[in-house]
């Protein structure tokens, strides 16, 4: 599957390039550095979340609570900063800590109670959304302290583009890149990462070879919670206020990005590089539609079509392979 998924990743890369070429032919703004940097910055949160979702989908699971989780984490750190102040380190700690706790809750139910991931995470999504509504009444949290807003405006590698504007690379993009590297290394160089692939590839074999299935699954959902914490800080640093409803339906975008990146919902395949391409595709498509004045609901339609195509391709491939396996050896 490695080589096949490589070609899957290649496909989404090619589609990405073609799409970018089409857009830049119709809009001169698209390839401008400030536009590309904006595009990356605005999708850093989607990207960070998609990394965690990649791991979950490789194990053959799914997490539909990620929108609710990241939303409640923004509310938590918003309230924390407004009422207690604190500092950047503490904000990260609170976000990541609460995220991991929520992830552990999902993971433990999935691993020990053996409830299907979609049921567990649907349930926790509903609980979290309900509690959040009760607590905030849907009200926004503004007056975020200035030290946090300053953090969100940090840019590095400033340069002057051809039009004479000074542009820098915002901190959010670096956070995203750091998470990409971390998750990539985790999947490639730790035994837990390899266990993620093994569980998705063949659960029974994974158990027989001595992998601790429960621990691996709990880790994966907790890691998703960790990334949701990082994403919550990143999001708040961009928006400078907290809208409890900002992430309604966000889980679908996250899952879409991962599936576009070549991960199979039946588990076993998927890669970080593929997911990054998937996120870029969603980002470029959205940006391109805006620049070329096409209504953005087309993004949803196009993404939906591509997902159905990608998944049917998967299913067909699997069926063909199952057919080719001999069942019993008939004596001639």
């Amino acid at each position: 599957m490695r080589q096949l998924s490589k070609s899957k990743e290649l496909w989404i890369f090619i589609i990405l390039i073609v799409l970018s070429a089409l857009i830049s032919a119709r809009s001169s703004v698209f390839l401008r550095p400030d536009n590309l940097i904006d595009l990356l910055k605005n999708n850093a949160v989607l990207g960070i979340m998609a990394l965690g979702m990649t791991l979950i989908i490789i194990t053959g699971g799914i997490d539909v609570s990620v929108g609710a989780v990241v939303a409640v984490l923004t509310v938590i750190i918003g309230k924390f900063m407004v009422t207690l102040g604190g500092n950047l380190f503490l904000v990260f700690l609170v976000a990541v800590g609460s995220g991991v706790l929520l992830g552990l809750f999902n993971g433990a139910l999935i691993a020990f109670a053996n409830i299907p991931p979609i049921v567990v995470t649907l349930g926790s999504m509903s609980i979290i959304n309900g509690l959040m509504l009760y607590y905030t009444n849907g009200a926004w949290i503004s007056n975020i302290p200035s030290w946090f807003i300053d953090f969100g405006q940090i840019t590095l590698f400033k340069f002057t583009d051809t039009a004479g504007n000074t542009v820098g690379v915002p901190i959010q993009i670096f956070i995203f890149l750091a998470m990409v590297l971390l998750t990539w290394a985790l999947l490639k160089y730790t035994l837990v990462g390899r266990a993620v692939y093994a569980i998705g590839g063949n659960l029974v074999s994974a158990r027989r070879v001595g992998i601790n299935i429960a621990r691996t699954l709990i880790f994966v959902y907790a890691y998703m919670g960790f990334l949701a914490g990082v994403a919550a800080v990143t999001h708040t640093s961009i928006m400078r206020q907290v809208d409890p409803n900002a992430f309604l339906g966000f889980e679908l975008q996250v899952i879409a990005a991962v599936v576009l990146g070549g991960a199979s919902l039946t588990g076993g395949t998927g890669s970080i590089i593929g997911t990054v391409f998937g996120v870029l595709f969603m980002a470029v498509l959205n940006n391109g539609l805006i620049l070329t004045h096409i209504p953005t609901f087309w993004q949803k339609i196009i993404v939906g079509l591509i997902i159905i195509l990608a998944v049917s391709f998967d299913v067909l491939q699997r069926k063909r392979m199952e057919k080719s396996l001999p069942k019993i050896d008939v004596e001639n």
Partner: protein, 513 residues
């Protein structure tokens, strides 16, 4: 072969609710020997393997000694660390990972590592493959390899974590003859290094080629361990069979005209050249080892698979059965194995489970379900089959296994079939209920139905059938009347096939059917 045993099992019992799968079994394996573990279906071989590999725990009192020291095997990891590796029939590899990773995974895990060293992985894989004298592309995803090569990867994985005993469960079942030869050469080279092999197989000829010693299990009990020189195929089979017959032989009903004629149906990879007839009022027993293709033949008669060649003639008319709906329309009913999973809606009342096949006929003029007719139908069948307690509103899951099976029967009998195909009808139900089901089947035959009963339980086959067909590896290898059949005769055919003179001509094309 050295004299000090690598592994000794003593007093191994395993009780599952209601069944004693193993009863004080022992086993001793010497370094460098090929030890065959043999027995009929259900003799306890798989349970013993599961205990050795840490998947199941034995009952208290069991002793497992490695190099003379008692050890505990509580989980698969323990078995691996003790140098025991299992190559399951399905290999238990990871289709999505590369050859190199599949080989080194077990080793890494049994070492309790946290980080992956890819260079070391490749070296491990290269070294073990060299040891085995085979060449494979290390970076290829496993699922791209043919089955025989995947098996070699599984063996390499066992070698990689220094296994001293490799258990092979039916290792030749999906290999061609050339591939089997190749596997045996590899096994011989492993034993020269002092690695012991526990070889589980139904193919006696192969066992006599490769094994040094045999341990025989029967009905979960230890029968004995024998050196190859002490045995021949006939003697081995007579050791394996001889289960107690705990059923009364049924009186036979008179056989009516031919109901069904099957003429050399073939489905590639499943069964080949199957011909038989079924009469009205007859119970035809279809037996053979698990995986011999019995269920596949039944499924072909019910339209679940469509044979590529051959004819099915029902009451003198050639028919094409392409779907279960068509089969039901022709008056064929099929009750699959595993009634809980496939035959019943456990969380629904008995009444609805029975009437589900008849919903079309129970419609009132308005097209709605006629509750009164449904009630009458359900009562009729609960009475006829003596389903207890006679409470139509009870949930199916609350009934005993025997009564559940009767509900499944009722559901199909309500369609008034001419032919009933029933797969392992009494699997997992107690002896008294078994006898009741047997009587019921006989009564149905007396009423003129033709019944095909698939079963692995020889006592059941002998007690119930009028005629007995034996399948082996996708072929029919024997037909007996109930008078001439014995357990030994059936097992001889099931294990070794038809006698040479009766054997159909061999094709010249490859090994795979």
């Amino acid at each position: 072969m050295s004299e000090k045993p690598f592994l000794q099992l003593k007093n191994i019992s395993k009780t599952f609710p209601g069944v004693k799968a193993l009863d004080k079994v022992q086993l001793e394996i010497l370094p460098g020997e090929v030890h065959a573990l043999v027995g009929e279906n259900g003799a306890g071989k798989s349970t013993l393997i599961k205990i050795l590999s840490g998947v199941e725990k034995p009952d208290p009192g069991a002793e497992i000694l490695i190099d003379g020291h008692p050890v505990n095997i509580r989980q698969p990891l323990d078995a691996n660390q003790q140098g025991i590796a299992v190559i399951y029939q399905d290999f238990s590899l990871f289709p999505n990972l590369t050859v190199a990773e599949n080989i080194s995974f077990g080793k890494e895990i049994s070492q309790g590592r946290r980080l992956v060293n890819w260079n070391e992985n490749r070296e491990t894989a290269t070294k073990t493959l060299e040891e085995l004298g085979i060449e494979l592309d290390l970076h290829l995803p496993l699922e791209r390899l043919p089955v025989a090569k995947q098996q070699l990867v599984a063996i390499a994985r066992a070698l990689a974590f220094k296994a001293r005993l490799i258990i092979m469960d039916e290792p030749t079942s999906s290999l061609s003859r050339g591939e089997v030869e190749n596997l045996f050469n590899i096994i011989r080279s492993l034993t020269q290094k002092g690695i012991a092999i526990l070889f589980v197989s139904h193919r006696l000829q192969e066992l006599f080629t490769i094994a040094d010693r045999f341990t025989v299990l029967r009905d979960g009990k230890y029968i004995g361990t024998y050196r190859k020189e002490e045995l021949n195929e006939e003697r081995l089979i007579s050791l394996m069979v001889g289960r107690k017959i705990d059923f009364v032989r049924q009186s036979r009903s008179s056989r009516g005209p031919v109901l069904l004629e099957v003429k050399s149906i073939t489905k590639k990879g499943h069964f080949k050249d199957i011909s038989f007839t079924l009469h009205r009022g007859e119970i035809l027993g279809l037996t053979g080892l698990v995986g011999a293709g019995r269920t596949e033949v039944a499924q072909a008669l019910f339209g679940l698979t469509v044979p590529e060649e051959g004819e099915i003639i029902l009451e003198g008319v050639k028919v094409n059965i392409r779907s279960p709906e068509e089969a039901m329309g022709l008056g064929i009913a099929y009750i699959p194995e595993g009634r809980q999973r496939e035959g019943l809606v456990l969380r629904q009342p008995v009444a609805q489970n029975i009437s589900v096949t008849m919903l079309r006929k129970l419609r009132s003029k308005l097209g709605l379900l006629d509750a009164e007719s449904e009630r009458r139908l359900v009562e009729e069948y609960m009475e006829a089959l003596d389903i207890r307690p006679r409470l139509p509103q009870m949930l199916a899951m609350q009934l005993s296994g025997g009564n559940q099976q009767k509900v499944v029967l009722a559901k199909w009998l309500a369609t008034r079939p001419k032919i009933l195909i029933i797969d392992e009808p009494t699997n997992g139900i107690d002896v008294g209920a078994k006898a009741e089901i047997h009587k019921l089947l006989r009564r149905l035959a007396e009423e003129g139905m033709g019944i095909i009963m698939i079963s692995s339980e020889l006592p059941e086959i002998l007690a119930v059938s009028d005629r007995i067909l034996v399948m082996r590896r996708g072929r029919l290898v024997g037909e007996f009347t109930s008078e001439e059949a014995t357990q030994e005769k059936i097992m001889n055919r099931a294990f070794m096939g038809a006698p040479a003179g009766l054997r159909p001509k061999r094709g010249l094309q490859g090994d795979r059917g």
